[in-house]
Amino acid sequence: MHEMSIVEGIRSVIEDAGRAQGFERVTKVRLEIGRMSGVEIGALEFAFDVVMNGSIAEGAELEILNIPGKALCFDCEKTVEVEHRLDTCPNCGGARLLVQGGDEMRIKDLEVL
């Protein structure tokens, strides 16, 4: 996917926060990434190291918090937890699931100096 652009977004949010809150070094970044967000974690980790070079978060540890996927089943009308977009409903076996959660991409918090 576009993990590089995503990490550039992270860098710009971190640098804005650093200016606003007066910190100059970030040692750890925690992201909430939903299962359905389409983000490839391996590619994100690679891009993170590359893009953060020269920023206040250079060398920072990256921790990914996985958010489970949630979907509304059109057949049994229940909200269920799913792993993939193409899963069938664990409740009724229906295939018509509308994803309603788990597509998050958020910066949760930072450990700073």
Partner: protein, 301 residues
């Protein structure tokens, strides 16, 4: 103040300094709060201890050993993170893009413009579909933003119809973003009540995640691509409000099952609308034109 339980005075260092003064010990040269604590732990073993969560710290006389996780600077406790150095961000990674998109959406709403973001793999026939659409709309006010990595070929094809078009070359970029659309809109005359078509970079993956401020993403899938494309690239079809199955005139030559195409699209997104069209022969195109007019009417009201 203790950064873990919130007890005591203003800082760990101040508190411990007070403790040392009280017990008649001089302050060791402090390098950092934790260096002080490490020294202190040795100097006054009876007053320091390790908490369950592994943070070693010293206490003043008034500490009751109660646990108050919400009193630290961060107002919360997170395993493995030190409160004093925890900065809550809670921001969407794509928040910058989303801000641009929201601004675009607001500006377009003021003008009653109905904007579609056309997304597909390269070669599905987006530009041909647009050229035919412009012809069928017969002079209705509209504008086109064309996204590609290189060349102005697509914008040239649109301009040949007489419609205004701006080409955005993304260089290495794999998708258009909200800022590019804002720039393009600033350079292009867009009358009130117009249709805006944004032809995204041909890519079934990345454009799904980037909101441009459009009213709907329209995913275009041509019959030569294979029925399983929606299953292989579900994000795009999940993000779209309408799917156009294009080049249906080729279906008899391609051994394809159009019902299976449609079923796979709905499998990924049960709420999506699906239309079967051929931009070349015009088959099914009237339904697409009606869909656009209905969208425009909703924006005007």
């Amino acid at each position: 103040m203790c950064t873990v339980c919130g007890c005591g005075g203003h800082s760990v260092e101040d508190q411990f300094k007070a403790h040392l003064e009280k017990t008649g010990q001089a302050m060791a040269a402090p390098k950092a709060p934790f260096a002080v604590l490490a020294t202190a732990a040795g100097a006054a073993a009876s007053h320091s201890h390790s908490h369950d969560h592994g943070t070693i710290h010293a206490h003043g006389a008034e500490c009751t050993h109660d646990i108050h996780l919400g009193h630290g600077p961060a107002g919360t406790e997170v395993p493995g993170m030190t409160q004093a150095r925890l900065v809550e961000i809670e921001t969407d990674i794509l928040s910058k893009n989303n801000n641009y998109a929201a601004r675009n959406r607001e500006n377009l709403a003021k003008k009653g413009v109905f904007a579609t973001n056309l997304v597909s793999s390269p070669g599905s026939g987006k530009t041909t579909l647009l050229v035919k659409t412009i012809e069928m709309l017969g002079g209705a006010p509209l504008a086109v933003i064309e996204g590609d990595q290189q060349t102005t070929n697509d914008a040239d094809r649109i301009r040949a119809t007489g419609a205004p078009a701006i080409q955005v070359n993304t260089g290495k970029g794999c998708h258009l973003d909200g800022a590019m659309i804002e720039q393009a809109l600033a350079r292009m005359p867009l009358p009130d009540g117009a249709l805006l078509f944004i032809e995204n970079v041909g890519n079934l993956v990345c454009p799904a995640a980037f909101d441009l401020g459009e009213d709907a993403k329209v995913a275009i899938l041509s019959v030569t691509e294979g029925e399983d494309k929606p299953l292989k690239y579900p994000d795009m079809f999940a993000a779209a409000g309408l799917a156009l199955i294009n080049k249906v005139d080729l279906a008899p030559h391609c051994d394809v099952d159009l019902d299976l195409y449609e079923a796979n699209i709905r499998r990924v997104n049960p709420a999506i609308e699906v239309l079967r069209v051929s931009a070349r022969t015009g088959e099914g195109m009237q339904a697409w034109i009606e869909w656009l007019r209905a969208g425009l009417a909703r924006k005007a009201s």
